[in-house]
């Protein structure tokens, strides 16, 4: 094994163990930044030792113990950490008496409370979204600052700054590393789910192109979603979000044509959908449904499942989808949801009914400049045979979009609707 090989082996272990190690240390030292530093020190020690002595049988416990010893060394050197030394010392004294098995169990954190506390702290609403995103990828995903920078198309120092500021804010605001009290849980959980879904969407919006750093954000988000589902198995929205992400991600192989242009959902080759993710997504949705009423994520997953369950585009259950959009519009009202409902109703009950809903959105401020409003209206008008109005709507959509490929698509539809002898735009 070369040095590079063994370094990669250490990094693989780090990837598996780092979040739990940082979480355990954070409980001991009450400081996320310090916990990460200590964990990094342990990683450096592993990079030195493991290639010589081999990877230990319980690498997570090894990293944790090493980091703990460093913590004690450091506290001994720094008077300012006197108070923390006492806390850690007490913690250690208690543990030194424990049998090795108990120590292993503590390090394994079988219930996962440490990790859950870390997740809630990192996603604390006192932090701006960009800070929460960067911290989550770094501390929970084990990504380097450089990897995060590449994924978000920002310079590396910017990411470094965001992480630094986020840690400082947590310290300044004296955010305690703990689970939110029951009364705050729904709002705090929403903040966690929001961050995971933001990470996912950042990747999903970029599933073409040659830099796979961005699309791999979908994998990171799903991984975080799966971890959370393991830690909070009784929360329907956790499974709902996981279902939504897995069903959406199942379409990634089919949503880009060979030439890189986007393929609309109904035109996709369904044999290219990732059946494993579809199956997992539907199973997660099933768990969410068993646990209670579906929330916004669960409902979106149920809508995505209408597509996933249909073997052909024609077999889509539009009536069910229209009904689900109605529920979604009720629990999480938004003009975009309403526009999607117009599409589903247009498919289920005819274009006239869909157009009624879409027309009601024409004065909606939030949709001003939103290219999909004229695009949806154009499609419904075309199906009603009102070609001229439809063409105008598609021309408007082409004007509004900032995506070149989308613009070409809208132009093509507008042109196809105009009489053959009309001058082309």
């Amino acid at each position: 094994m070369t040095v590079a090989d063994s370094h990669r082996a250490v990094e693989a272990v780090w990837r598996i163990e780092s979040a739990r190690v940082i979480a355990g240390l954070a409980r001991m030292v009450h400081d996320i930044g310090l916990a990460e530093e200590l964990a990094q020190d342990a990683l450096v020690a592993a990079l030195e030792e493991w290639p010589r002595r081999g990877v230990p049988d319980n690498p997570g416990a090894w990293l944790m113990l090493t980091a703990k010893h460093r913590a004690i060394d450091q506290f001994r050197r720094r008077d300012t950490y006197e108070r923390k030394l006492q806390e850690v010392g007490r913690d250690l004294e208690l543990r030194q008496d424990a049998a090795a098995d108990d120590l292993d169990d503590a390090l394994d954190d079988p219930i996962g409370d440490d990790l859950l506390r870390l997740i809630f702290t990192i996603c604390h609403p006192v932090l701006p979204a960009e800070g929460r995103l960067a911290l989550a990828l770094r501390l929970l995903g084990g990504l380097t600052t450089e990897e995060i920078a590449r994924a978000f198309l920002v310079p590396e120092p910017t990411v470094g700054q965001r992480i630094f500021r986020a840690k400082r804010t947590l310290a300044d605001k004296r955010v305690r590393i703990e689970l939110p009290p029951p009364a705050e849980l729904p709002a705090r959980l929403a903040s966690v789910l929001e961050i995971i879904y933001l990470i996912f969407n950042e990747g999903y919006a970029a599933t073409s192109g040659d830099d796979w750093a961005r699309p791999s954000l979908c994998q990171e988000a799903m991984r975080l979603g799966r971890i959370l589902a393991g830690l909070m198995p009784d929360e329907p929205e956790v499974h709902g979000l996981l279902a939504l992400m897995e069903i959406q991600a199942s379409r990634i192989p089919a949503r880009t044509a060979r030439d890189g242009s986007p393929v609309l959902l109904l035109d996709q080759d369904r044999s290219r959908w990732d059946r494993l993710l579809v199956r997992r997504g539907l199973a997660a949705l099933g768990r969410a449904e068993e646990l209670g009423t579906l929330g916004p994520y669960g409902l979106q997953a149920a809508i995505a499942a209408c597509h996933a369950r249909a073997l052909t585009a024609e077999a889509t259950d539009w009536e069910r989808m229209a009904a689900l959009y109605r529920l979604l519009a009720h629990v999480a009202p938004s003009p975009v949801v309403e526009l999607n409902r117009a599409v589903a109703v247009g498919m289920a009950h005819g274009p006239a009914r869909g157009l009624e809903i879409a027309d009601a959105l024409r004065d909606e401020r939030a949709l001003r400049g939103y290219p999909l409003l004229p695009a949806v209206r154009g499609d419904l008008l075309a199906r009603l045979g009102r070609d001229e109005e439809a063409a105008a709507e598609f021309a408007r959509a082409a004007e509004l979009t900032r995506n070149e490929r989308e613009r070409a698509l809208f132009h093509a539809r507008a042109t196809a609707l105009l009489p053959q002898d009309a001058p082309r735009a």
């Binding site: 693989a12 990837r15 996962g112 040659d210 994998q219 991984r223 799966r226 971890i227 830690l231 990634i252």
Partner: protein, 124 residues
């Protein structure tokens, strides 16, 4: 990156697998699932219950199991990970359990990458 890990047994001691081993396998599976890496897995029934469809010399032949190989395929798992080393680490943990909890057992795990959309991405 998605990896398929297959487990084959070459030497299996007499008797059923120890309860400790089965328990440890369940625990490891749970851990791998909850860390987001393990997407799918299953043990496989003996090849005596299976069949093989073969093309040879232009002819299609179906033969019922058991297969004659010395190595019997006994399980598979699919992992979603960021590197080959990570898949190897999970496979090692799985095989280590067999070594530690079922004396005399010998076998091997193959770690194979599944193709993904990026393997067929259009040239940029």
């Amino acid at each position: 990156m998605r990896y398929l890990v297959t487990l084959k047994v070459t030497v299996q001691p007499e008797g059923p697998p120890p309860a400790d081993l089965m328990e440890a396998i369940v625990k490891l599976g749970q851990q791998a699932t909850e860390s987001g890496a393990l997407l799918d897995q299953s043990g496989l029934a003996p090849s005596a219950e299976g069949a093989r469809v073969e093309v040879s010399g232009g002819r299609l032949a179906v033969t019922d199991g058991p297969f004659a190989e010395a190595k019997e395929l006994i399980s598979y798992a699919i992992y979603e990970v960021r590197s080959k080393e990570e898949a190897v680490e999970w496979a090692s943990r799985f095989v280590r359990l067999h070594r530690d909890l079922w004396p005399g057992w010998e076998g091997e795990a193959d770690v194979l990458r599944l193709f993904a959309p990026e393997d067929f991405a259009p040239p940029a």
